[in-house]
């Protein structure tokens, strides 16, 4: 059982006009079961502003062509937009060069890319890879597959009852055998923001590279890869206002240069003979086949939008919103919240009495509230907490304090309905 240290948060102390931004999101005007939609499933995917939707439409209406192949006008526009998006992403996360931005299908593919192109070259039998026990399946399974194939061993940093990492264990397992640390920046279950700078410093002291799963952090926090000094970072556009089907692997130049190719095909080659080939320059070496061009256009528009709102404003506002929600939730009898790290983001996993998350989320859906129920792609966390599932509410900057109040009211109604 965990409880959040009492936080005396009054409603809204910073100036942030979530209502104004909501106007840009057509879907937030939807009704479900005849009620206004209260979308609290942002850790799964976020909604898209008009600007992103327009960028996708405009690409298909005005610029559609394949990239890097055509001499014609549309081909040039498509290529300029696609490569422009790469620059846009690089600037957003503070990468030195846009060459360090590899477009993938999302976080999952970005991690698989490293496990394959870096892992299969550098990880050998007897080597160890350190993960945490709070990883999303996408930062666990690729390493399991690699470890099994090459005979390497996975080691894990455990979490405690607050959902924070145990540095004593980390110090013990970090050794000369460690080849890589792959760890989440922000937990999609506990909301914990892990002390990544400290982890990276300790790893680098031993010459060990670090891959960050930024799927939950990049959408909600100002993230600067140069400042963090991470070796790799993976994230997804769809969790930060952008379209599905596109994401990023950032890598340090030296790491990328040393890696094998990932998939083979068009775009990733330089010269090809029947029995051999040479590889294109980075980043194209890792982008075989026609990429998600429209997605890149939409992604750039999403980043424009986030920068206009301001990542620092987003973080501050979400922290107030989250603290307020947690405080109100804990006033409900029978409420258990999983995770109470001092540094946390807006993903809140909980259980209400013995109401099964499936029943609770179905009840909330009937009231217009979209939350997630299940194991959140983290079955190992559930097993350690000795529960089958949780319900999770997760916020973004377009959520309002009024929505939180409504959500709380519905939780109270659910308690009554299920006879708690």
């Amino acid at each position: 059982m965990m409880s959040v240290a009492s936080m005396n948060v009054s409603k809204k102390t910073i100036e942030f006009d979530a209502r104004k931004y909501r106007e840009d999101f057509p879907i937030l005007k939807e009704t479900v079961h005849g009620l206004p939609l209260v979308y609290l499933d942002n850790a799964a995917t976020t909604q898209k502003p008009r600007q992103v939707i327009d960028a996708l439409t405009s690409y298909y209406e005005h610029d559609n062509a394949n990239v890097h192949r055509a001499i014609h006008q549309l081909g040039e526009r498509a290529t300029a937009g696609y490569e422009g998006a790469r620059k846009r992403v690089a600037r957003f996360i503070g990468a030195k060069s846009e060459k360090q931005i590899i477009f993938t299908r999302g976080t999952t593919e970005a991690i698989n890319l490293v496990a394959s192109a870096w892992g299969r070259k550098f990880v050998e039998a007897g080597d160890e890879i350190i993960l945490s026990e709070m990883e999303h399946h996408s930062n666990l399974i690729p390493w399991q597959l690699l470890a099994k194939d090459v005979g390497a061993r996975l080691r894990f940093i455990p979490f405690d009852e607050n959902g924070t990492l145990d540095f004593n264990v980390f110090e013990q397992i970090l050794s000369s055998k460690t080849k890589l640390i792959a760890i989440t920046h922000m937990s999609n279950v506990f909301g914990t923001i892990n002390p990544i700078k400290r982890i990276i410093r300790m790893a680098h002291d031993r010459g060990v590279p670090v891959l960050l799963d930024g799927a939950q952090s990049v959408p909600h926090l100002p993230v600067d890869v140069e400042h963090l000094d991470c070796d790799f970072m993976a994230f997804s556009a769809h969790k930060m206002l952008g379209p599905t089907g596109i994401g990023v692997l950032y890598g340090k130049m030296q790491q990328l240069e040393n890696m094998n190719p990932y998939q083979g095909g068009g775009e990733m080659i330089n010269s090809v003979w029947l029995d051999s080939a040479t590889w294109a320059e980075i980043p194209h070496k890792f982008e075989a086949g026609t990429p998600n061009i429209a997605g890149a256009f939409g992604f750039a528009a999403a980043i424009d939008y986030l920068e206009q709102v301001g990542m620092e404003n987003i973080t501050l506002y979400e922290q107030e919103l989250t603290s307020y929600a947690i405080e109100k939730m804990l006033e409900i009898p029978g409420m258990t919240i999983y995770g109470s790290a001092p540094e946390r983001g807006g993903a809140v996993s909980f259980n209400l009495g013995d109401i099964h998350p499936h029943d609770l989320s179905h009840f909330l859906d009937q009231q217009g509230v979209a939350v997630r129920a299940g194991h959140h792609c983290a079955q190992t966390i559930m097993r350690k907490l000795n529960i089958a599932a949780t319900t999770r509410a997760s916020f973004y900057f377009y959520n309002t304090f009024e929505e939180i109040d409504y959500f709380i009211d519905q939780l109270i109604k659910a308690s009554e309905f299920f006879g708690l």
Partner: protein
């Protein structure tokens, strides 16, 4: 509150969820099979004792949502003392009813009894797997399967 939702979680289901019947391990079972829904973590073991084609005893253990647990509980009540052939009939009816293939389930109250309480599931496609998990597990077990049932293969 949507009245269909209220109807779904009516008295029978809430009662069987809170006080599941035949909720126990069976030491002398002739059939035993696990069923799970990996998406939401529902997990049950169904036990059957079959002799001369009669289901002499049936029980279950495990955990999950109200719909799946009540479904397992009602199923055990209904099947006790029935023949394997009759069980087949109930299974088919239940499956058809919760997938919306039976037009007026209330007309079957006489023959199907409390099973009809689950008719409302048809309104909620995401809950069909919850209601059918215990039934599929029972069914596979009766037909001699040793393979754990998972909802991600059945549907």
């Amino acid at each position: 509150m949507d009245s269909e939702f209220r109807e779904l979680y009516q008295e029978i289901i809430m009662d069987h969820n809170r006080k599941p019947r035949n909720f126990r391990k069976m030491e002398d079972a002739t059939h035993r099979l696990d069923g799970m829904n990996p998406l939401c973590g529902d997990q049950y073991t169904i036990y059957l004792k079959v002799k001369d084609d009669i289901i002499e005893d049936v029980s279950f253990e495990g955990s999950g949502c109200a719909i799946s647990k009540a479904s397992a509980s009602v199923m055990t009540n209904v099947l006790k003392g029935k023949t394997v052939q009759e069980a087949e009939k109930y299974f088919n009816f239940f499956h058809k009813m919760v997938t919306g293939e039976i037009d007026h389930p209330e007309e079957y109250l006489d023959t199907m009894g409390k099973l009809v309480a689950f008719a409302g599931v048809a309104e909620f496609p995401v809950r069909v797997k919850c209601a059918t998990l215990p039934w599929h597990t029972m069914h596979n077990s009766l037909h001699g399967s040793q393979d754990k049932v998972t909802t991600e293969e059945n549907n």
